[in-house]
Structures are given as structure tokens and as C-alpha cells.
């Protein structure tokens, strides 16, 4: 069981970063543990595409013996995406933001919520 109020508080913390636009916490099977989106993203599709992205990444890294994926960072001319794996919990934290979102602050914020997430996710 996951305490939803604690998840919401984690999501709020991530979204407190300037220029952030959304945060998701997904399990490796694609189910949503928590999500908050500020923008008009289509949530169902976002979840589907992130699940597919992670499945592809895991498939590639395991086939070529690169070991487990740890994090993905995408920076485009319009947006930034962070995907961080919470080790041993099969959970991914995803943070979306505009291209002006501060990369350093975003990374620190994600690192900060990991211990709490590890504690509350069974």
C-alpha cells in the first residue's frame, strides 16, 4: 500500500521547481503510483510512452550487458525530461519541465525525494 498523501507531497515538492510542468511516479509494469501535470499533456499517452521507453531501455541495456539503467535525461529545444529509477523498488520518477527548468535543481529535487519514496513504496 502506498500512502497517497505522501505521494502527493513528493509530487508537490518536485513541481515546486521553477518551470516544471509535471511529475509522474510509475511502477515498472506501467501502473501510475502518482501524477500531477500542470500542462495539457495527455496523461494516458504519457504513461504509455514512458512505460514503452523504459521497457526499450531495459531491453537494450540488458542485451548488451550495460547493467541496469539508472537515469535518463532528455533536453530539447522546448523541454527537459528526467527519468530516475528508484533502485530495488522497480519505480520510476519522471519530472517534466520547460527548457528553462534548472537542470541542477531538478536533479537535486529528485535525489531528495528518493529516500521518502523508498520508504513508502512497498
Amino acid at each position: 500500500m502506498v500512502e497517497q498523501s505522501e505521494i502527493n507531497s513528493i509530487l508537490d515538492e518536485l513541481l515546486s521547481i521553477s518551470e516544471s510542468e509535471g511529475a509522474l511516479i510509475l511502477s515498472s509494469d506501467g501502473s501510475i503510483i502518482g501524477s500531477k501535470l500542470k500542462n495539457d499533456f495527455i496523461k494516458s499517452k504519457l504513461v504509455k510512452y514512458f512505460s514503452e521507453l523504459m521497457a526499450t531501455v531495459i531491453s537494450i541495456t540488458s542485451k548488451v550487458n550495460f547493467g541496469e539503467p539508472e537515469q535518463i535525461f532528455v533536453q530539447g529545444t522546448e523541454r527537459k525530461i528526467f527519468v530516475h529509477e528508484v533502485k530495488e523498488k522497480n519505480v520510476y520518477v519522471i519530472l517534466l519541465g520547460t527548457s528553462d527548468m534548472n537542470t541542477g535543481f531538478a536533479s537535486i529535487a529528485i535525489e531528495k525525494i528518493i529516500p521518502t519514496l523508498k520508504r513508502i513504496v512497498q
Binding site: K45, T56, V64, E68, E70, Q71, V74, G76, T77
Partner: protein, 346 residues
């Protein structure tokens, strides 16, 4: 035999250049042939004619043609060479103790693929009739090379250098292995071209596991053995991308670089012994591009950094898709700036 001579002889035989082995005593010229015959690719059909010595009769897979009718022999060889274009194995003719008439009626009509042994009188005819490109002088023999060597014979130099301490058996194995690789790769490329209009040099390098120099050799040998120039069907790496690869090669943490134009691999360079099919990069690109469909517009240009336990993947999507496998510990910010700086020149 000195290494420089070996390189020239190996190159000539591999390229099917015409050679005349001359000595006062025909036995010496014939013996020289048996000292160098292991440089001839084994997949070629050896044909012996002339005064075939006993030793030659016991060689495996050799066709012996013993006829006095030089006119018919010349016609038969011309047809054999013509048929190579249609897929029959390339032939290598060896004419023992060739005379002036042999040259006039048989060999003069053949522009490649033969070796002749001869004595003094015939050698004088050869010197007066052909433009001798090079003479290799031994204590008792001379080899006349009737065709020019190719501009680049670095593969042959490396083969001879790598085997200089080896005995004949090992040397033969290593040389024949390379020649067979080139021969089989040519067939594979021909097959590939029958299903595609064009292939890129990088695609071939990756799928066949060959380097640029070997690909050039495949093209050259293809021209010499099949009279077929496949270079027009192979897209080479653009020069600006080559410069990019050269600069990137100085960064020690880079293990592999692949550059795509659309779905076509236009450049590929591997600096470490790792196996990573480049199609994986395209899969990752597609998984990023699809986010647009969810309303998440990442932008026209983007880069992706994927950290895993043992290695990192970096993809820079610009006019080309630049993909890298990196060793752990690289400074990403510095690396990305370097890549961006280099891309600006392309």
C-alpha cells in the same frame, strides 16, 4: 624473401596482375612459382598448362590443360575470363615454360590473371613487347610485373608484417583468411545490392565487421575478378563527418560512434571491443519522438543521456543523429559542448 618483395608479389597475385618469372634455367623459374603460389587466393580456379612439371600434377584442385593447339587454348581462356562476369569462379592461369608463340597466341589476349615461367629467349620477347612496370630481382630469377600495383597496398603490407616471423603454414592461413573474407564480403554486398538500390559504407562496415580499408580492397578485387565496380552503389562517409569522427576519436572515453541520416547509417566507428547494434539508437530516437503525440513537444533538436551501471549512451539529435557509447566517468557537460562545437562545422 625480403618483406618489400613479398608485399609486391602478394599484391600482384591478389590483384590478378600479370607476372612473368624468368630464369636461365626453367627449373629455377618454376621453383620460384612454388615459393610464391600460396599468395594466390584458394577460391580461384588454378589452371596449369605448358610443360607441367611432375610436382604440379599432384596439387589439389588444379586443372591441367595439355594441348599443343595454342589458338584454341587462347580462345578458351578468353571465354573463361568473360564468364567470370556471370558468376563463375575467377581463374588463375599458370603457363610453365612459355615461349614466344605462347605469348603471341595465348597470353597476349588476356589482360589479367596469368603467370608465366620462361627462359632467356622468351624473356627478351617479353621485355620488347610489354611495358614492364617493375622488376623484382632475385639471385637466379627475375619477376617482371606487367601491371601497375594499386595505389594503396597497406593491407598486404600489414599481412606480411604480421606474419614475418611465422612459418609458411601460418602465413598461408592468415593471408588466405583475409583473401577469403574479401571474396565472401564481395558476394554478400552483391547480394545486398540486389535487394537495395544503395548501401552506405558505414552500414557495410557494421554488418560485415570490416574497416574502411578492407571495403576499398573488396571493391578493387571485385573489379579485378568480376569486372564489376560496386563503388557507385556504395555511399561513402561525407568528408565533414570523417573530420568529426577524427576529432571524437581523441576523447578516450568514447567507445563507439554512429551517425545516422534519417534511418541510414552514414558513419560508424568503434574504438573499443564492444558489441552494440546501432539499430538500438534508432529505437531510442523513435521512443523520444513519439512523445509529441502526447502533447509533450520536446523540440526539433534534442539530446538524450542514458546512464546505466557499466556504460552510458548519448544521442544528439540534430540534422544528423549522432550516437555515442561512453565509458563511465566522462564529464557530460564538457563532452556535450565538444559535440555541439564540432556539429556547428558540419
Amino acid at each position: 624473401m625480403k618483406e618489400e618483395r613479398e608485399v609486391m608479389i602478394l599484391t600482384s597475385l591478389w590483384h590478378r596482375n600479370r607476372l612473368v618469372l624468368h630464369s636461365r634455367d626453367i627449373k629455377e623459374a618454376n621453383d620460384l612459382f612454388f615459393n610464391i603460389n600460396y599468395f594466390i587466393p584458394q577460391y580461384r580456379q588454378l589452371i596449369f598448362c605448358g610443360d607441367i612439371i611432375k610436382k604440379a600434377r599432384y596439387l589439389k584442385g588444379v586443372k591441367l590443360i595439355e594441348t599443343e593447339d595454342l589458338g584454341s587454348l587462347g580462345e578458351a581462356f578468353k571465354e573463361s575470363l568473360a564468364e567470370e562476369e556471370l558468376g563463375t569462379p575467377p581463374v588463375q592461369i599458370v603457363y610453365f615454360n612459355a615461349r614466344e608463340e605462347t605469348f603471341k597466341q595465348v597470353l597476349q589476349n588476356l589482360d589479367r590473371g596469368w603467370i608465366a615461367t620462361c627462359t632467356d629467349d622468351t624473356a627478351n620477347f617479353v621485355k620488347n613487347s610489354y611495358n614492364i612496370r617493375k622488376e623484382i630481382i632475385f639471385e637466379r630469377c627475375i619477376i617482371y610485373m606487367l601491371d601497375p600495383l594499386p595505389n594503396d597496398f597497406s593491407i598486404e603490407e600489414k599481412l606480411i608484417e604480421d606474419t614475418k616471423e611465422s612459418n609458411r603454414g601460418i602465413k598461408q592461413f592468415i593471408i588466405q583468411m583475409k583473401q577469403s573474407q574479401v571474396h565472401l564480403a564481395f558476394q554478400a554486398i552483391q547480394d545486398e545490392l540486389s535487394s537495395r538500390k544503395k548501401v552506405t559504407q558505414s552500414y557495410l562496415s557494421e554488418t560485415l565487421g570490416i574497416r574502411e580499408k578492407t571495403l576499398k580492397k573488396i571493391i578493387e578485387i571485385g573489379i579485378r575478378e568480376k569486372r564489376l565496380d560496386i563503388s557507385n552503389y556504395i555511399e561513402m562517409i561525407p568528408s565533414l563527418i570523417i573530420d568529426f569522427l577524427k576529432e571524437i576519436s581523441f576523447i578516450k572515453e568514447v567507445s563507439l560512434v554512429a551517425v545516422f541520416e534519417g534511418n541510414n547509417l552514414v558513419a560508424y566507428s568503434r574504438y573499443r571491443d564492444i558489441i552494440f547494434p546501432t539499430l538500438n539508437f534508432l529505437q531510442l530516437r523513435d521512443k523520444i519522438d513519439i512523445f509529441l503525440d502526447s502533447g509533450l513537444n520536446i523540440g526539433e533538436y534534442w539530446h538524450l543521456r542514458l546512464n546505466s551501471e557499466n556504460k552510458d549512451i548519448f544521442i544528439y539529435n540534430h540534422d544528423y543523429l549522432y550516437c555515442f557509447i561512453l565509458e563511465k566517468g566522462i564529464n557530460f557537460i564538457t563532452f556535450r559542448s565538444k559535440v555541439e562545437k564540432l556539429i556547428r562545422y558540419i
